[in-house]
């Protein structure tokens, strides 16, 4: 099942361009990166996703050669690069601040990486111009950086990093300084660019939407550790642990004890819910295990009490509650539903199908929440 979800993304050629082996970095007593091991395939669009301070930028800087690892190794295209300085790695970076040289023209900026390694001026010029075409900045070569908008400056940084045809392109929060509309356009453009040049892209971001929409695979990081590596859909639908479930999107987590296992289904007695949860599972938890059931808000069906099938007391996977809070978000609304015994909140998201019924639900409505047994994910960590 998980394989099916993965295959809707492009399957990268099975060749690791980067192998990271139990890589660690500590600054004094702070463990920024803690024994990370990863394999990144050639031609992949890979994202490092995590909250700020999770070590994703430090990991990227170690790949670039701008930080020295405290332990572990980095192998790029079969060569151990752990101790190779940044200027001799087949890797280029697009920095968060773009770091365009303010005293050089656009063309000189883009050609810098070639010029500094001693390539002939004519070739530098040709290749720099070709790189500018690639990022749709043809004709901007003579301008100075402060004559450019933020978006254009970022294109210069991209062209400058791509002109050396690196084996891997590293992007450190490349879209965080752009406004919302431009950011969305740039997402598509980055994906197209990556397909055109065929270079492995590794992007660092704290924006899950960015990672989900662009990457072939995502590594979710937390406090220096990688918590899960998976394609976007798998990450969202089958999070490996509570951190990932909670970090990617919104989730309801019900803590409980496995009370019965019956083949592919099991029953969880959740402290929060009156009725037991019945869940499909393939992890083989034994009865008595302490687990968390994660259910996404949009996977919960909400109906007014008395409308639709009646609530039968003791039925599995349904619960009665009262709408406490409504957040209207245009395309859909989220509801916080207070459930009775003991008291707790469940998040429900519902698409706003019908314009006529502006508010299908209102505050203090008594509602019934239902979900399928295969909607939830059982986690034990």
């Amino acid at each position: 099942m998980t394989g099916d979800l993965g295959s809707e993304n492009r399957t990268p050629a099975d060749k690791a361009i980067i192998r990271i082996n139990s890589l660690s970095k500590n600054f004094g007593t702070i463990q920024a990166v803690d024994g990370v091991s990863l394999e990144i395939q050639a031609g992949e669009f890979f994202a490092l996703l995590g909250p700020s301070g999770c070590g994703k930028t430090t990991l990227l800087r170690m790949l670039a050669g701008l930080e020295t690892p405290s332990a572990g190794s980095i192998i790029i295209d079969g060569e151990d690069m752990s101790r190779v300085p940044a200027n001799r790695r087949p890797v280029n970076t697009v920095f968060q601040s773009y770091a365009v040289f303010p005293h050089l023209s656009v063309l000189d900026n883009v050609g810098y990486g070639l010029k500094v390694t001693g390539i002939r001026a004519v070739e530098v010029r040709d290749r720099a111009e070709a790189a500018l075409d690639l990022v749709k900045l043809e004709g901007y070569g003579a301008r100075m950086p402060d004559q450019l908008s933020g978006g254009q400056r970022q294109r210069v940084a991209l062209a400058r990093a791509l002109v050396k045809r690196p084996k891997v392109l590293l992007l450190d929060e490349p879209l965080s300084a752009l406004d919302a509309k431009l950011r969305e356009a740039m997402r598509h453009e980055l994906v197209n660019l990556q397909e055109t040049v065929g270079i492995t892209f590794i992007i660092v971001t704290h924006d899950q939407e960015e990672a989900l929409s662009m990457a072939d695979r995502i590594a979710v990081m937390d406090r220096g550790c990688v918590r899960q590596v998976a394609p976007p859909a798998q990450l969202y639908e089958f999070p490996a642990n509570r951190f990932v479930a909670d970090f990617i999107g919104s989730v309801n987590l019900f803590e409980g004890i496995v009370s019965a296992v019956d083949g592919a289904e099991m029953t969880v007695q959740a402290a929060l819910l009156a009725a037991p949860l019945r869940i499909s599972q393939d992890k083989g938890f034994a009865p008595g295990t302490r687990v968390w059931v994660a259910i996404r808000p949009e996977k919960i069906n909400m109906t007014k009490l008395g409308v639709g099938p009646a609530l039968r007391l003791g039925d599995d996977n349904q619960v009665e509650g009262i709408v406490e809070e409504i957040t209207y978000l245009g395309d859909f609304s989220t509801y916080h539903v207070r459930i009775a015994r003991p008291t707790g909140l469940v998040k429900v998201a519902a698409a706003n199908f019908d314009r006529a019924t502006l508010r299908p639900f209102t505050w203090e409505d008594r509602v019934v929440l239902r979900w399928n047994s295969n909607s939830g994910v059982v986690l034990d960590s």
Partner: protein, 283 residues
């Protein structure tokens, strides 16, 4: 509503200081206070009188006299030579000091930082005496041929002017985005190329401003120079001082006016270069 509009028109905004009469008066008074002595100096350099107290008519003969005064010209050439050499060395030393303070962390760094800026606050007279004692103690050779006889003065000047360069360049480096240097490195630049292509271009306005400061400080320094100059190595300010001890003639005024003109020209030139650079960068 109308009343308020009127009131707004009369009452200047917070940034329109110069629209207030009393503010204009203060501005005017400041200019008068600052520039009257210099204007008087320049005006009386054209005074056709030996005593230089009463205006007796216009002449340029004291300029001719000053230009014909070999001792004065020699002192002037000495001053310029010392200023150029000490500025050059100060820029290099100051930039290196600033870079080290910005780039590295090492034990006792605050102490070192304080020690570097000490020559700025030490009274000049103490510096002068210290230099005199120092050169006498190490037995610095005297009676060397020109320009080597200016060595002590140049060294003394470097010692008090390079901290100024260091302070100015250090302040400039504070605004440097380290990602620029990292980008250069990432693109294949070694340590030297990073320095040449990323750090020094950013330092440049600081180097210019600091160098200018060092140049003018060296050119007009009297106290420290007085203690380190011998009979064969007289600088312009020291020479003017010795001339004034006999009498304040318009010749002194003329010589001083030339110095004012040179200083103003150099400053204007430096500002112009800096403006041109920043407007080129801006387009």
């Amino acid at each position: 509503m109308k009343v308020r509009d009127n009131a707004r028109r009369i009452q200047p905004g917070p940034l329109e200081y110069t629209r207030q009469a009393w503010m204009r008066m203060i501005l005017l008074a400041t200019f008068v206070f600052l520039y009257t002595p210099i204007a008087t100096l320049v005006a009386f350099s054209f005074n056709d009188s030996r005593r230089n107290i009463v205006w007796r008519g216009f002449t340029t003969k004291y300029y001719e006299k000053a230009l014909a005064n070999d001792g004065l010209i020699e002192a002037f050439v000495n001053s310029l030579s010392i200023a150029f050499v000490s500025t050059f060395i100060s820029i290099i030393l100051g930039a290196m000091t600033a870079f080290m303070l910005w780039r590295f962390r090492f034990p006792l760094k605050p102490l070192y930082e304080g020690a570097v800026t000490l020559p700025i606050v030490i009274p000049e007279i103490c510096m002068g005496v210290a230099m005199l004692v120092f050169f006498a103690r190490i037995g610095w050779p005297t009676g060397l041929p020109w320009p080597l006889n200016l060595g002590q003065i140049a060294i003394a000047h470097v010692s008090f002017s390079f901290p100024f360069v260091a302070v100015v360049v250090r302040a400039r480096l504070a605004s440097f985005n380290p990602e620029i240097a990292e980008a250069a490195r990432d693109l294949g630049a070694g340590e030297w190329a990073v320095m040449r292509d990323a750090v020094i271009p950013h330092m440049r306005p600081g180097l210019l401003a600091g160098g200018l400061l060092a140049f003018t400080l060296s050119l007009d320094d009297f106290v420290i120079t007085f203690f380190t100059s011998g009979p064969e190595s007289v600088t312009f300010p020291v020479k003017v001082y010795s001339m004034v001890r006999f009498s304040v003639t318009p010749e002194v005024n003329a010589a001083s006016t030339v110095l004012v003109v040179i200083t103003v020209t150099v400053t204007a030139l430096a500002l112009w270069i800096q403006n041109k650079q920043s407007s080129e960068a801006r387009g």
